[in-house]
């Protein structure tokens, strides 16, 4: 797999502060604890409870679990976008708690996030083109590798989309623009937080396929967050099952889904709709 | 508490419902502003009474005053008079009031009494006052000093006294509803000849002139004071009795001769010639003010020997093409139509070729600036005499160390002093004429404009109210 990474990665590693060991992890989370304090009541809520995980270069990893189990909190902490909590997070080997603010800003583009609500992820006052232009001014070297039109082609969007504003895009189109924006940054890690749950099933399949393809061609690692086991299974190699802030079970998808060890995983599998249909396949 | 205002009165015992322009501040005559005098003067009496022409007469608490030498005055106190609380209103009480007036920090009349060096009451009916320098009009000053009971005043203090004043007058305190009204009732054992023939008076107040008109129109009050010309006209049209009295309050434009542009006598003359006081009286006041060309003619009706009359053409000629800049300071909202008057003055100056800017400020600040000599150009404000003596204006406005000090001149200082040293008013009169001519006609430092006319309306059938030019009101003979 490391081979694929090297080939697929445009531009090599020169842009990194230090050249990375190819077998090194893109993201390492060590014994992470994140707590939210409710502003109104002052109550403290532990959303992520002693979680550790590791994503190697080019890997695709999923986190599943029910609503409120801490998946988003984990992802935001891991990319340095949300509250960082206690415990060590290393993005490309840099510990997020020890890097300075400036360095963090440099490091962040390495991890790009695709969110659930595609419209909410785009500035409503910016056309697609000016949004891309802004990214280019923010990261001139990183983004010079591709033209706007080519970029849109890679996410299978028509160049005419460039002049549109977010509210003039359908959900699927908007989500593809979000993916294009992430792609432009040539990230080493793409975090997709329920990227398809706001979309219709027919569109969902396209988006998933696109994410897969990008991972294959650029070699970026993928951290997929979802509550839909079928989606996870069709996209990811490794899965972590979260429950009440803890990772209760991890392993390769095949193993976990075929022989679930934990009660909760079993419950999840049993609750998956479509048993009747699958039984007829 | 007082009686309910707003309820119509019919025959029988009659309480006068009087409407003032503002809530009287404190009713303590020593520190209180003179505007509240209308209320406290029903209960308290001045040491010396005045006649219709504002001259002291012997019908009041003091029955005689003699000048034993140039700086010593001896007064006789009317015997056997008591305050309504039983205290004796004797010479000691008079001496106490004079001392309070001179020594209290916040005394309103303090500055008039700086000349007093000694006050003594050798017996129950005699008071002897010594002044530093000779002062022929000292007795006049006592027409505005109101007698307070020494023990009661000392006991209660200023605030306590103001909450329930005690005096020798025809009425006694009846109570108040805070912020709403104040009442006095008749004093059955009043010593004087003019006992009240009504039951008492309830004072209320309304800041807005339109209100004061509306309230008299709706018969909510029996007398409504202080109606500006517009309201007075309306009231008359509506068939309401309006009484107009020419007052001693004078509106004057003061030109600062010590600073540009009016350090130039030519420009002062131009300004004096440009302003048309008759047009102001007619146009702005609808005739309800009295054009007045003199400065030291204190009593209503009195005219100066010499004066300046309008000549816009000459004014323009004097100014020439230089277009000097002039600031006009005036106390916003302090006197009736003062904004319009100031603008009329400004308009006239502009026509003559001046460039005018207006500085409306509140009264307190204006006084402070005037006193601090920070008013280049023109200051317009009123001279409000407490007593009808020319020295009030001479010392107040003409001497180098006066309030305005806008016309410093050794000759003026000398003449003012000389006038005071005369034996009586008649002897002083020619000197004041001379002063007036210097200030107004020769040097053009003062442009007197007009005297205010005070209007009040009385309800149907209400009569017997007497209003004096110095803001004194006699309610005792008021009936319905």
């Amino acid at each position: 797999m490391t081979d694929v990474v090297q080939k697929g990665m445009p531009g090599g590693d020169a842009r990194h502060p230090r050249a990375l060991d190819q077998t090194a992890a893109v993201l390492e989370v060590d014994d992470l604890v994140v707590e939210h304090r409710n502003r109104r009541t002052g109550e403290v809520f532990r959303a992520v409870d002693h979680v550790s995980l590791r994503i190697g270069a080019g890997e695709s990893v999923a986190v599943v679990g029910e609503s409120g189990s801490g998946k988003t909190t984990l992802a935001m902490a891991a990319t340095g976008l949300g509250p960082r909590g206690d415990g060590d997070i290393r993005l490309l080997g840099h510990s997020l708690s020890s890097v300075g603010r400036k360095q963090l800003r440099k490091l962040r583009p390495e991890a790009q996030v695709v969110f659930q609500d595609p419209h909410g992820s785009l500035d409503p006052r910016q056309s697609v083109r000016s949004g891309l232009r802004e990214l280019r001014t923010l990261q001139p070297e990183r983004t010079s590798w591709i033209e706007d039109t080519d970029l849109l082609e890679r996410v299978r969007l028509d160049p005419s989309i460039l002049e549109r504003y977010p509210h003039q895009l359908s959900g699927g189109q908007a989500q593809r623009v979000c993916i294009a924006r992430a792609l432009l940054m040539r990230p080493r890690l793409i975090v997709a937080d329920e990227p398809t749950s706001g979309l219709d099933v027919s569109v969902q399949a396209d988006v998933l396929a696109l994410l897969q393809e990008i991972r294959a061609t650029t070699g970026a690692a993928l951290l997929m967050i979802s509550h839909d086991l079928a989606v996870v299974r069709s996209v990811c190699d490794v899965v972590h099952v979260m429950h009440h802030g803890r990772v209760v079970e991890s392993g390769p998808c095949e193993t976990v889904f075929a022989r679930p060890e934990h009660d909760y995983t079993r419950e999840l599998l049993a609750a998956m709709p479509g048993a009747r249909w699958r039984s007829r396949q | 508490g007082g009686s309910e205002p707003g309820t119509a009165q019919s025959a029988g015992p009659f309480t006068v419902r009087a409407l003032l322009a503002a809530q009287p501040a404190t009713l303590d005559p020593i520190v209180g502003a003179r505007s509240a005098q209308i209320v406290w003067a029903t209960m308290l009496e001045p040491l010396i009474n005045t006649d219709a022409s504002l001259k002291p007469i012997d019908t009041g608490l003091l029955t005689s005053w003699t000048r034993t030498d140039a700086t010593t005055w001896t007064f006789k106190v009317r015997p056997d008079i008591s305050f309504s609380n039983g205290e004796k209103a004797d010479a000691a009480a008079v001496a106490n009031t004079l001392t309070l007036t001179r020594d209290t920090a916040a005394s309103q009349l303090k500055s008039y009494f700086t000349n007093v060096v000694d006050i003594a009451a050798p017996d129950a009916t005699t008071v002897v006052v010594k002044t530093k320098t000779s002062q022929y009009n000292f007795a006049d000053l006592l027409t505005t000093v109101y007698l307070v009971p020494p023990k009661y005043y000392a006991e209660k203090g200023s605030a306590g006294f103001a909450a329930a004043p005690v005096g020798t007058g025809p009425y006694v305190w009846a109570g108040s509803n805070a912020g709403r009204d104040m009442s006095v009732k008749k004093n059955p054992s009043y010593w004087g000849p003019k006992k009240a023939i009504n039951e008492g008076i309830t004072f209320t107040w309304a800041n807005e002139a339109a209100q004061r008109l509306a309230l008299i129109q709706s018969k909510s009050v029996d007398v409504s004071f202080d109606l500006p010309p517009a309201q007075a006209t309306t009231a008359k049209k509506a068939g309401i009795t309006v009484t107009s009295t020419e007052t001693a309050i004078k509106i004057i434009a003061f030109l600062d001769s010590t600073k540009a542009p009016f350090d130039d006598p030519k420009l002062r003359e131009a300004a004096a010639l440009a302003i048309d006081r008759d047009a102001i009286v007619k146009g702005i006041f609808d005739g309800q003010a009295v054009a007045d060309a003199g400065l030291l003619n204190v009593s209503p009706g009195q005219k100066p020997a010499q004066s300046v009359s309008t000549d816009p053409a000459k004014a323009k000629e004097l100014v020439g093409a230089a277009a000097p800049a002039v600031q006009i300071h005036y106390p916003a909202a302090q006197y009736t139509n003062i904004e319009e008057v100031s603008q009329a003055v400004g308009g006239a100056l502009e026509k003559a070729g001046f460039k005018v800017t207006y500085v409306p400020i509140d009264y307190g600040t204006l006084v402070k600036r005037v006193v601090g000599r920070q008013v280049p150009g023109i200051a317009i404000f009123a001279g409000v005499p407490n007593v009808a003596v020319p020295d009030f204006f001479a010392s107040g406005f003409m001497k180098a160390k006066s309030i305005t000090g806008n016309c410093p001149d050794a000759q003026i200082d000398e003449l003012s002093q000389k006038a005071l040293e005369q034996t009586d008013a008649a002897a002083a009169a020619p000197i004041y004429e001379q002063l007036n001519t210097i200030g107004v006609v020769d040097k053009h430092c003062y442009v007197p404009l007009y005297r205010q006319v005070f209007n009040y309306a009385t309800g149907p059938g209400v009569k017997g109210l007497v209003f004096g030019p110095l803001n004194t009101v006699d309610f005792t003979q008021t009936t319905h």
Binding site: T41 | Q108, S158, Q211, S218
Partner: protein, 330 residues
């Protein structure tokens, strides 16, 4: 901020059967304490501003002593009033006074400010209560009507009437009322206080602005509440008409309305200047105006302090009411 008149819909946090929380059980208490501390801080700042405003209102000595006074006399008075001391000393004296309930003495009335404020308070209270009652009685139905018929001509008419109330200069409206009802028609007294008839015009004038605010807020809040899914759900359960509007929607829409009512009351208590001026109403507003015209800075200061205190107390009241009405806040 709970006092925001802009309704901010807050989604209730999902309830957890057994959250892995190092929970803070006394959340409500903590929140109350934090809120109280914030209000106290605001109050302290407001008090400091009041102090500065007091100093701002200018040198009182000329107004008190008149133009004839000499510089020495003025200086003596300044000394007597304590104005010649260092500002910081004055400030701490003032704070001490405020916290011991002593708001100083008026320069013009020679009386304790507190007692004067208390004397005037009943009148202003009367006016505010009558005006507020009127505002609520007209504003709430008007707003509900507009919300129920959102987008129709009814709505537009009701909303425009309400907005008109927010657009008319209050004192001008008062003047016109006087001209019409007192001078020309002679139906009602033109001003002053005493009988209930005296209250009619001032209360009417007073009610215009809060009425407009209440109507507009009611409309906004009600239209939001009426769009909530639980309203449709209630309808689907067969619950009809008035009950849905008042019991379900209005109760939910009430909080912002209540907030604005309480806070407006606070503002009117100290800010009824124009109305009281027009009608010679012997309330706090008149007193304030007089104080300012006379440079009676201790009185100005005292009224401002009083207003700030009332406002803060009413803020707390809003919080308390909120926690009573809305179980989610408890």
């Amino acid at each position: 901020m709970t006092t925001s008149p802009v309704p901010v819909s807050e989604k209730s946090p999902p309830a957890k059967s057994a959250p892995p929380a190092r929970g803070n059980r006394s959340g409500a208490l903590r929140r109350a304490a934090a809120r109280f501390a914030a209000l106290l801080a605001s109050l302290l700042i407001a008090l400091s501003m009041a102090f500065m405003l007091g100093r701002l209102s200018g040198d009182p000595t000329t107004t008190i002593l008149g133009p004839m006074a000499t510089a020495e006399q003025r200086e003596a008075l300044r000394h007597e009033l304590g104005l010649d001391r260092p500002l910081l000393v004055q400030y701490f004296d003032y704070l001490k006074g405020v916290f011991t309930g002593d708001l100083g003495n008026s320069l013009q009335f020679y009386q304790p400010n507190t007692s004067m404020i208390m004397d005037r308070l009943p009148f202003t209270l009367q006016l505010v209560a009558a005006g507020m009652a009127l505002a609520i009685l007209v504003g709430v139905p008007l707003g509900v009507l507009a919300a129920r018929r959102e987008g129709t001509w009814w709505d537009r008419a009701a909303s425009t009437v309400a907005l008109l109330g927010q657009s008319v200069p209050v004192f001008w409206f008062g003047m016109m009322l006087v001209v019409l009802f007192a001078v020309n028609l002679g139906w009602l007294p033109a001003g002053q206080s005493g009988t209930p008839a005296h209250l009619v015009l001032p209360a009417l004038t007073m009610s215009v602005y809060p009425m407009a605010q209440i109507a507009r807020l009611t409309r906004a809040s009600m239209s939001e509440a009426l769009a909530e899914p639980y309203i449709d759900a209630a309808k689907a359960r067969g619950i009809t008409g008035r009950r849905v509007v008042w019991r379900h929607a209005f109760k939910n829409a009430m909080m912002p309305i209540l907030t604005i009512v309480v806070l407006q009351t606070g503002i009117l208590l100290s800010g009824a200047v124009a109305v009281e001026y027009v009608y010679s109403w012997p309330g706090l507003g008149q007193l304030a105006l007089q104080a300012i015209q006379f440079r009676d800075f201790p009185l100005v200061q005292a009224i401002v302090v009083f207003g700030a205190l009332v406002f803060v107390l009413l803020n707390l009241l809003v919080d308390v009411i909120h926690s009573i009405v809305d179980p989610r806040v408890r």
